[in-house]
Amino acid sequence: MTRDALKVLLFTIGLVVLFVWAGEVITRASGGAEAAVLGEGVSVENGEQIFWGPGKCHTCHSAGTRGSNVRCPNLGASADGSEIGLRSVERARERSEELGQEMSPVEYLVESIVSPSAHVVEGYKDEMPKVYEPPISLGADEISSVILYLQALGGVPEPGRIVLPAEIRMAGLGGGSTEPWAPYLAGDTLRGSEIFFDVEGPAPCAKCHRVGDRGGDIGPELTGVAGTRPARFIVESVLQPSLEIASGYETVLIQLTDGRLLDGVVRSESADSLWLVTSDGEEVGLEPAEIARRREQELSLMPDNFSDVLTVTDLHDLLAYLFTLR
């Protein structure tokens, strides 16, 4: 090997060694080599480790001068206010006024984690994920620990007063499955299509739903529904339509000044008029003066008796057809 080639070799190795050295230095500087070991149960110490570790809270929040991220409110003493342990008292008072019911500081902190969209601090985006869902997937004890840690920032931890909703207590118990939901019977897609479009039949879906250029417009269009919605959701929507109503298709009950009652879906609304599509598919125009009362309904316009009017075979034929709509 000539001197030139040797010099090139040494230069190359030198650069790589420098890079490896930088990795070593950064590991020492960032404390990355010291993996935190979580203790058992619910505690402030565990909460601190989770906040600054697997909970990833620190990737958006800082706490006073600790941390550098400004995407979400600083939870320590800062321009955003006092430490969150103290601040939660004030926030809870504000939320109580908003909601018209009493909310304690610890309930405010629980709400911030369980339903982060319920109250978004002004100046910040509504972007906090649900930490008990993937990919963070914290368990109930871990969330309780974080709440204790937050209370400890300027306040007094109250371990006995943390009550998490059932959805969090159950979270993570069945996660990780990768087996798709499958219907019990294979189903005949052609027959399912006939059931769907038979407006005189027991399940006249096409009366309200459109597929391609066929069907009505009272309910959401179903062209491509299986490509955007999981199978489980489609089955639930058929059997329990009120469980989750598609946005824009919520039912309203309107009492007219002459005493009549109308229920349907609001198609359009302005200061001068309101257009309602009733459950019969009729479009009715109303002026504000005609409306005596109006109430949003929790029940969908869609009938919820398909498990009674369809046989098991019919239901699976219908589902088989719906699953082809990609």
Binding site: M1, D4, A5, V8, L9, F11, T12, I13, V16, V17, F19, V20, W21, A22, G23, E24, I26, T27, A29, S30, G31, G32, A33, K56, H58, T59, C60, T65, R66, S68, N69, V70, R71, A79, V120, G123, Y124, K125, D126, E127, P129, P134, P135, I136, G174, G175, G176, S177, T178, E179, P180, W181, A226, G227, R229, P230, A231, R232, F233, R326
Partner: protein, 675 residues
């Protein structure tokens, strides 16, 4: 008769092979203790999920093979792009050197192609062998695309051989031959797009229900939100990589060349490699930002972890490497000016450029805060330094990367004009040439007007901001409209023979806007209207893009048919400049390894993010030290293997030259006997 002593390429090829062998051995030595320690670990608990191979850590095994495969894939995709560009330049300029260069590198592809395919097969085997459950799930989703991939691979092989073997036959039909090269690149690009869909799906899965079951179609999985951003980033990265590999090859050859002709040839080759690499490197940070932004949009948890969590320090390392790339590329340009008569007029600028680059890189790699002891905090006056702490925030980093790109662009401009004088006034140029300036101005107008309009119409509610915060949007929009006025002024100045003034004016505007005003304004936005910060960064980069477009457009016209002060003295360049080329190649390989780690590591303990968890004992994010050792080892193995391939290609060339020489001699002997 004595056999001729190997000289030139053949001699250095042997040294390259020895170099390759040593590098590979060193890398394997680095890896060995890892395998040994992993072999001593306990029995597996989830045999169905993960297996091991000779006790090796399966995660690191797949990491090593996948990254090596990716680097080879980048080589076989980057080099054809480089070759076609160079062949096209040769065709249009009539300079045969470009054609020879393109052919020389296409020859390397055959061996590299086989190695890439072998590593791809090995990657598939390791995935199916070590992670059977994941591989099964993944195959169920992507099986149709895998057949498409295989088909494209056959097609690419056929087109590659057709492209290389028809070089001489189609010498008179260059357009057709270049079309074949373009076809080769189109097939290669589609091929990498298919593979990118797999990698991006693992980060941003779609069509999955809440139980983790896949309910969508293969096409939906392919067109996941990160697919196109990753495609763009990888294509630009591959071109940069291809250019810098060529540059390093030329540098090694240059250093071992003894004749002036060879030195001139390899000096020129290094310049071309660096130029192509640098041209793709300049827009690469834009593509990286776009990818990062889409990662954030796909999963804020992943995005925040990337920039503000466990990977924020990895980006400090990235800043070191990318900073080194820019500094080395600039240094090479400045050094190369020593061979250009007339360049001495501009050499005094280089020291200022150097200072700007070093300061900018220093800012770029400044962390916001580091773990400190109580004593250190007391000495510093807090967790964060009162002044330097600001340099660790995104706004400062966005400002300096823009300034780094502008400085590099300025170096390129000076290099281009180094030996040119006596400019032909633009008013005396043909109308179609003047239209280049008008066209560039119009394009800038459209870009600035479009985004200014977008910002004017942006609703604060869409960013969860109060209505009065709209004033922060309008300021940036007005700045973009001011940019339109400056661009129009520059076009008018250019058409009135004040092109250099126009360039200075727009350059100053861009620097003052991107790095100055918007850099500082970003800090205000961070406090007053934080969610708007992303739009500020986009505005900064759009202004920068318009600067690249408009100033280049003016430059092309301004120096058209200018008198040259002398010929470039190829070969008369310092050895140090060649080490700059080598450092560019090593650094780009390290950067690709590092970014490969970031892309995969961001998934943390998920095979498929949020859907399929890696439950094995190896599912943890390695420390930066461990990552650097792995990436360093992969880099050494890859460079060693590439050097070996170069040696192989050189060997074939030497053999064929000897064969020609021998057949020529025997022909002469035969003729002598006949007479």
């Amino acid at each position: 008769m004595r056999a001729p002593a190997p000289t030139g390429p053949a001699g250095s090829s042997g040294r390259l092979a020895a170099y390759a062998g040593i590098v590979v051995c060193l890398a394997l030595l680095l890896l060995w203790p890892e395998g040994l320690s992993a072999a001593q670990e306990g029995p597996l608990t989830a045999v169905d999920d993960v297996r091991t191979f000779f006790g090796l850590n399966p995660r690191k095994t797949v990491w090593f093979v996948a990254q090596l495969h990716l680097l080879f894939a980048a080589f076989v995709l980057g080099v054809p792009i480089f070759a076609v560009i160079v062949e096209f330049i040769g065709w249009r300029t009539g300079d045969r050197r470009y054609d020879r260069l393109a052919q020389e590198f296409t020859r390397l592809l055959a061996a590299a192609f086989a190695t890439t395919a072998a590593l791809g097969g090995l990657l598939a085997f390791t995935l199916y062998g070590l992670y059977p459950k994941f591989a099964n799930y993944f195959t169920a989703i992507f099986a149709p695309s895998m057949y498409v991939y295989a088909g494209l691979f056959f097609l690419e092989t056929a087109v590659l051989y057709l492209y290389y073997n028809s070089w001489e036959r189609l010498r008179e039909s260059k357009g057709l031959h270049i079309s074949l090269g373009v076809l080769l690149n189109v097939v290669g690009t589609v091929l990498v797009f298919v593979a990118n869909s797999w990698a991006s799906y693992m980060m941003a899965p779609v069509g999955v229900d809440e139980s983790g079951a896949f309910t969508g179609t293969t096409l939906q999985a392919v067109a996941n939100p990160l697919w196109m951003p990753l495609n763009i980033h990888r294509i630009l990265g591959n071109v940069t990589f291809g250019g810098f590999v060529v540059g390093a090859y030329a540098a090694v050859r240059f250093l071992s060349s003894r004749s002036p002709e060879q030195r001139a040839h390899y000096d020129w080759m290094g310049y071309v490699g660096n130029f192509v690499g640098l041209a793709a490197l300049i827009p690469l940070p834009f593509a990286g930002y776009y990818l990062g932004r889409e990662i954030y949009s796909a999963s804020p948890v992943m995005g925040n972890n990337m920039m503000g969590g466990a990977f924020s320090w990895t980006f400090i390392m990235q800043a070191m490497l990318v900073g080194l790339l820019f500094i080395a590329a600039n240094y090479y340009l400045w050094s190369g000016m020593s061979r250009i008569p007339g360049a001495e007029r501009y050499r005094h600028f280089t020291k200022y450029f150097n200072v700007v680059l070093i300061v900018c890189v220093a800012v770029w790699l400044t962390p916001r805060n580091i773990p400190l002891t109580a004593g250190e905090q007391l000495a510093l006056g807090g967790q964060v330094h009162p002044i330097l702490g600001y340099l660790g925030l995104m706004s400062a980093k966005n400002a300096v990367i823009n300034l780094i790109i502008l400085t590099t662009f300025a170096s390129l401009l000076l290099y281009r004009r180094a030996n040119k004088t006596d400019l032909v006034p633009i008013s005396q140029q043909p109308a179609r040439v003047r239209m280049v300036v008008v066209g560039a101005g119009a394009l800038c107008f459209l870009i600035l007007a479009w985004y200014g309009w977008v910002l004017l119409r942006l609703q604060p509610a869409s960013l969860d901001l109060a209505p009065e915060k709209a004033v922060y949007f309008r300021i940036v929009a007005l700045l973009l409209f001011l940019g339109i006025a400056v661009a129009v002024t520059c076009v008018i100045l250019t058409l009135r023979d004040r092109g250099q003034l126009a360039q200075i004016l727009y350059f100053t505007f861009a620097a003052a806007t991107c790095a100055g005003f918007l850099g500082v304004y970003g800090f205000i936005v961070m406090v007053e209207a934080n969610p708007f910060l992303r739009q500020v960064a986009v505005a900064q980069w759009l202004v920068l893009m318009t600067a690249l477009i408009l100033i280049t457009g003016i430059d092309v016209v301004l120096f058209r048919r200018a008198r040259k002060m002398g010929r470039i003295r190829w070969g008369e360049v310092t050895g140090r400049s060649q080490y700059a080329l080598i450092s560019l190649c090593v650094t780009i390989v390290l950067t690709m390894g590092l970014m490969g780690f970031v892309r995969s590591g961001l998934r943390e303990n998920w095979h498929i993010y949020g859907v399929m968890r890696d439950t094995s004992q190896w599912a943890f994010t390695p420390s930066h030290a461990s990552m650097a050792q792995m990436v360093g080892s992969i880099t050494l193995v890859f460079l060693g293997a590439i050097a070996f391939l170069f040696w192989l290609a050189g060997l074939g060339k030497t053999r064929s030259r000897e064969a020609r020489r021998a057949s020529g001699a025997s022909g002469r002997d035969g003729a002598r006997e006949a007479t």
